[in-house]
């Protein structure tokens, strides 16, 4: 799945999502994200942030509306293409979705194995990420033996492993102290400087208060832009 040359990476058009029986999580949302942007998504608990991210990585289907990534309408592309597309989207899930019986290394290697990267490169990449997130000493520990904050960083490392074009981070600092938080934000910054587009759903004011990036707020299924990008 090649992404087109256009600068538009993500285009969400009039998307609604209703969970059965009658939970309206998203109601007629539209927005777009340019390549290379960093975007924050805020909103009260239960506002629909996770739902929106799930729609973008095809874990759920919108009830109405459509989503285009790099020019591909998600509702129209074939399953095989969705699989290829996912290899370009890194997601740090809010509930991590790590495999508890595998080690940190094995967990982070998964997205690299999926596109058949060879062992040596995998090892280099995993070490790089763990160094950046300060958990290199846990590399061969099973993830169920980690503290919650360590797990969170592993989840972030896994999302970033494959140098994705689009990185979705759902509450990436909920279990982290301020020092770890800034390391995570540094990593995101670094990935962004390498070309990744990043979308972060969070409650943590401290990480978006002082940025100049766009901030969206979800409220009762509606999306509002509460900060437009400041021109540098």
């Amino acid at each position: 799945m090649e992404l087109t040359e256009s600068t538009l990476l993500l285009d969400v058009v009039k998307v609604s999502k209703t969970y059965p029986p009658d939970v309206i999580a998203l109601d007629d949302i539209s927005f777009d994200i340019q390549k290379g942007e960093i975007v924050f998504l805020t909103g009260r608990s239960g506002a629909g942030k996770t739902t929106l991210l799930k729609l973008i990585c095809c874990l759920e289907k919108p009830t109405r509306g459509y989503i285009e990534i790099g020019g591909n309408d998600l509702s129209k592309i074939k399953p095989v293409s969705i699989q290829k597309l996912r290899q370009h989207i890194g997601v740090a899930y809010q509930n991590f979705r790590l495999l508890p019986k595998l080690t940190v290394f094995q967990n982070i290697a998964m997205p690299l194995e999926v596109c058949y990267m060879d062992r040596k490169n995998i090892r280099t990449r995993v070490h790089e990420l763990l160094d950046a997130l300060d958990i290199i000493e846990k590399i061969n520990v099973r993830t169920d033996k980690l503290s919650r904050g360590e797990q969170q960083r592993v989840a972030i490392a896994r999302a970033a492993a494959n140098k994705p074009s689009l990185l979705l981070a759902d509450e990436p600092t909920g279990n982290l102290d301020s020092a770890s938080t800034s390391r995570v934000m540094d990593l995101f910054q670094h990935l962004n400087s390498e070309g990744a587009t990043i979308m972060i759903a969070t409650h943590d004011e401290s990480i978006y208060k002082k940025t100049r990036h766009r901030i969206f707020n979800l409220e009762q299924g509606q999306l509002q832009l509460i900060q437009t990008e400041a021109v540098a």
């Binding site: 290899q87 997601v91 979705r97 998964m110 194995e113 999926v114």
Partner: protein
């Protein structure tokens, strides 16, 4: 090449992670194969045994006049029309007399004053040895009585009839338990495969989320299914072979071996069993994946 390496690494990792449930599946497959083939073996050998016991399956038709050699062919045809027959022998009173003499042994002097002519002409009919003929022997005898010039039809009525009923019962039992076992085997195997996959559901789902292609997901599962089926049936057949040796060991002795040459499955049968269980395991795994990994 890279693909194959990854698949093998995956398979090895899965085994390491879930070896206990993998072993359980293997054991289940082995047991099922053992059961099924055990009953197959018994059934096979029972049929053979029946055919040997059937050596005594001789009917004698007593006639009230001699069958002229020119008419014998017609007679034969009529008999063969009804049932498959091993051989048919026309016997004159003289031959019967000699036979009787032999049978009486030391007491043969009873016959000294007698003439062969008090004995009737007769036909001995040897049936082909199979259970079907055995169970139809009564009908056959009735049919023979309707032939021209038949005086009386005789066969080891008492025990042959009982024996044939007994064999019928046995056949039914073996078939019934065979069916039951086949059902359970399928049920057990699919159940354990399902459980193994449910345990791995999360892993497969996470792989899906990370963009794993179908071949990436299915490769290891296929290899596992293949190994399960292959090793399982090999194990089962080996166990069966030991059962077989044990039975043979307990039934050696000239009389017995002579009667029941208890024989093992033939090579083609073994291959069919191997092939079927591999197919079942791999197929089952693939179907389960489709059902349990929805993303």
């Amino acid at each position: 090449m890279k693909y194959i390496t990854f698949i093998l690494i995956q398979t090895a990792r899965n085994f390491k992670q879930a070896w206990s449930s993998q072993l359980m599946t293997l054991l289940t497959v082995s047991l099922s194969v053992l059961f099924f083939t055990f009953f197959f073996l018994i059934y096979n050998n029972m049929l053979q045994a029946a055919s040997r016991l059937g050596d005594e399956l001789r009917l004698i038709v007593y006639l009230d006049e001699e069958v002229q050699p020119s008419l014998q062919a017609g007679y034969e045809k009529k008999i063969r029309d009804f049932s498959e027959v091993e051989k048919i022998i026309f016997i004159s009173p003289q031959e019967s007399f000699e036979q009787l003499k032999k049978q009486l042994g030391n007491d043969r002097d009873v016959l000294d004053d007698l003439d062969a002519s008090f004995l009737p002409h007769s036909i001995e009919i040897y049936l082909k040895h199979d259970l079907k003929n055995l169970s139809r022997i009564k009908e056959f005898s009735e049919y023979l009585s309707t032939l021209p010039s038949t005086m009386k039809v005789q066969y080891g009525q008492g025990w042959i009839e009982r024996f044939s009923y007994f064999m019928n019962l046995l056949r039914m039992i073996v078939l019934l338990s065979g069916t039951l076992l086949a059902l359970t085997a399928t049920f057990m195997v699919s159940y354990t495969i399902r459980l193994t996959l449910v345990a791995r559901q999360e892993e497969l789902e996470v792989f899906r989320m990370l963009g794993a292609t179908n071949s990436f997901i299915k490769g290891p599962v296929l290899i596992e299914g293949f190994l399960q089926g292959f090793l399982g049936s090999i194990l089962g057949l080996t166990a069966l072979y030991f059962c077989y040796l044990w039975i043979q060991d307990h039934f050696s002795g000239p009389v017995f071996l002579n009667l029941f040459e208890f024989s093992f499955l033939a090579l083609p049968q073994v291959l069919v069993i191997l092939f079927t269980s591999i197919l079942l395991c791999t197929g089952g795994s693939l179907v389960s994946i489709r059902k349990y990994v929805s993303i």
